[in-house]
Symmetry: C2
Subunit: 398 residues, 2 copies
């Protein structure tokens, strides 16, 4: 008989509970699984022994939780060091846990790696499996990660509306999108375009150095061409020296002797908006920072993402039960469009970051390629909204 411990780490997503429920329900099919525990608030809940018995949850209730965004067990930003991991292992041992599953990003994968190595060193039989999750889509080995498709869908639907709003009341619009190191989420904004003149007209990614002069020239060119300009900007854009633009703004604000204006969430968008206003003399300039709406908005979710997150949780349990080998579940694209799941080595994903490959970024540096469109399109899921225009047959002036 064996006991299973599940936990969720890092930023919530729209589908992280699918992976949780996938693992719980898969575990119920194995008669040698005695108990399925959940840790409340990730690894923090383990060291606090804040555990819950997931056997008390009915399958019907679990299905409702699976369809609910954000981490139902709670999450944590704790990044365990060796000592912290040893404490996790001690609690796992005390409860007779044989299988540990941690749903999270590359930091969570690293915690799983450390715990797995410590368990091996102590000859404690603990199968440790990392289940991928991140809206940033920045995990190595994986073609893409659960959570990304739904967040991308939110960004696309947002820019579809923004494009129409900006067409109705023309001007410059700057939308700041999450993704500190990888531009996948910002790049997805390009999928909002249906017509050639639709926005976003430029996309600024952390993978390419941000040049304010080039940015201004591009805004100007689009204003001349379309009478309006929408740009999508990653919160993680950096200057030529690799310093995040937002960080530069914050450092400047901290140094302000008045000391009463710290630049926070909206600062990057506000700064770029002011730059456009001041330098190009454009009156109507608006910026929004999409913020936390992107990762857990209720009711906007990709069904493809849901199914894959569910499968990643199921596969994790099946891999563990099959040969008690630790690892990370990875997603691989096999056909157009289908995926396979593998158990990969933890060290190949742990603490590593994948960024947008060059093939996804146009030579100009501020557009994505058709290869990126082909990559991202199936991840958005079914029944994407479509928008429509009037024909606008002109009436002869009198």
């Amino acid at each position: 008989m064996t006991k299973i411990l599940l936990a969720q780490g890092g930023g919530p997503t729209a589908v992280i509970n699918q992976s949780l429920v996938g693992a719980i329900l898969a575990a119920r099919k194995f008669p040698n699984v005695d108990k399925v525990y959940g840790a409340v608030h990730g690894v923090r809940g383990i060291i606090d022994q804040n555990l819950v018995d997931l056997g008390a949850e009915s399958a019907a209730d679990l299905e409702l939780v699976a369809a609910t965004p954000s981490s139902a067990l709670g999450s944590t930003r704790d990044k365990p060091d060796e000592k912290y991991c040893m404490e996790i292992l001690r609690v796992a041992q005390a409860h007779g846990i044989g299988n540990f599953f941690y749903i999270g990003g590359n930091d969570s994968a690293d915690s799983v790696r450390i715990i797995s190595e410590q368990a091996r060193a102590l000859r404690y039989p603990l199968t440790c499996i990392h289940i991928p999750k991140t809206i940033d889509n920045d995990l190595t080995v994986n073609d893409h990660t659960p959570g990304y498709g739904s967040a991308a869908r939110f960004v696309v639907q947002a820019f579809m509306g923004i494009n129409l709003d900006n067409a109705a009341l023309p001007g410059v619009y700057i939308g700041v999108v999450m993704g500190r190191n990888a531009g996948f989420l910002t790049a997805s904004s390009a999928l909002a375009k249906q017509h050639l003149d639709d926005g976003p007209h430029a996309v600024y990614l952390p993978e390419r150095a941000f040049d304010a002069e080039k940015f201004l020239a591009e805004v100007k060119a689009n204003m001349e061409r379309h009478g309006r300009c929408i740009v999508a900007v990653s919160e993680g854009i950096t200057d030529a020296r690799g310093v995040p633009v937002a960080q530069g703004l914050m450092a400047k604000a901290t140094k302000d002797p008045h000391g009463n204006l710290e630049l926070g969430g909206g600062a990057l968008g506000d700064f770029l908006g002011k730059l456009v206003k001041d330098r190009l003399g454009i009156k109507r300039v608006r910026s929004d920072t999409f913020g936390y709406l992107q990762r857990a908005f209720a009711g906007v979710v990709s069904d493809v993402d849901q199914r894959e997150a569910r499968a990643a949780g199921e596969k994790a349990v099946e891999f563990a039960m099959a040969d008690a080998r630790s690892g990370t579940v990875t997603i691989h694209r096999s056909r157009e469009y289908a995926v396979d799941y593998k158990l990969s080595a933890l060290e190949d994903v742990a603490a590593k970051t994948k960024v947008m490959p060059d093939a996804f970024i146009a030579a100009s540096g501020n557009q994505v390629t058709e290869a990126f469109h082909a990559y991202a399109r199936p991840l958005l899921g079914s029944d994407m909204p479509r928008v429509h225009r009037l024909r606008q047959e002109p009436v002869v002036k009198v």
Copy 2:
């Protein structure tokens, strides 16, 4: 025979094209309607004679446009004075227009009022009808206005997700919602609550003076009670002297001798977040300004709002054809839940603002009443998402 001219003004909504299409299709049922023209970019399109022949649009295409957010004819922020209105009238006369319909808010209603009075003074037979539209829900006479239900639905779905995100990673979250003078949209955030401890835990409306000390005390009390706190704040909150808090911040920023930090879209949320951090010493404080996503997000719309916006457009044409009287279409709640449409006097709506009645605001000033819930609930439409929790049966510590 008569010619019809349609235009859309002010900020776009998710359903303003329903009213446009409702009017166009209704006009096709009247054999005495010769032509249906649309003005591109509102009243600006009239004086520029930038008109389109809406007879060229097929009914099937119009249905697709009706389901598309934002103003398909384009909009304008122009607020016509007497001279501007006289120019509109001259163009209408030149094209032989007999009926003018303007879909917009209280400013648009005022333009319609002026044009209608000028036509009467000149004995030019022009029936002028205003069709209501505003996400702010601030039109007098109307029980509520087309556009509000869909924007409220967006705000509710956003806070449903934010509540779960904040429960997973506890801290303080400040969400800044549109609505400069009326708190209806911010108040709708309360409908995101399913459980007693769900956020938003406090709602700050422009109808009540914002007191920073009271705000801090309330955040502190919620942190002690729930270990977390979510607040919804209207962008239009004012201090005890009636000065908008955001305006105070902007004035301060303009005076900054460094001159390089103008406070823009995200400033109010960032300011309140910093206040909480500095004064309460809370580490995890986040703020988002929902911005333009609220009014034209593709794929989030209330079906009730869609139907009512459509009907308002249809009724406008029917009223005009019935007795050639100018006025504004107003929406009245008749039963739980049904509405009636009337033609009301333009001067009762034009340039007037409705705010949240006292019966909708709790004595504390930072909560809404059950009466508001009953008022707003049917406007959100069908199939609202529901979220679910785990039972979380504790495991005995060892």
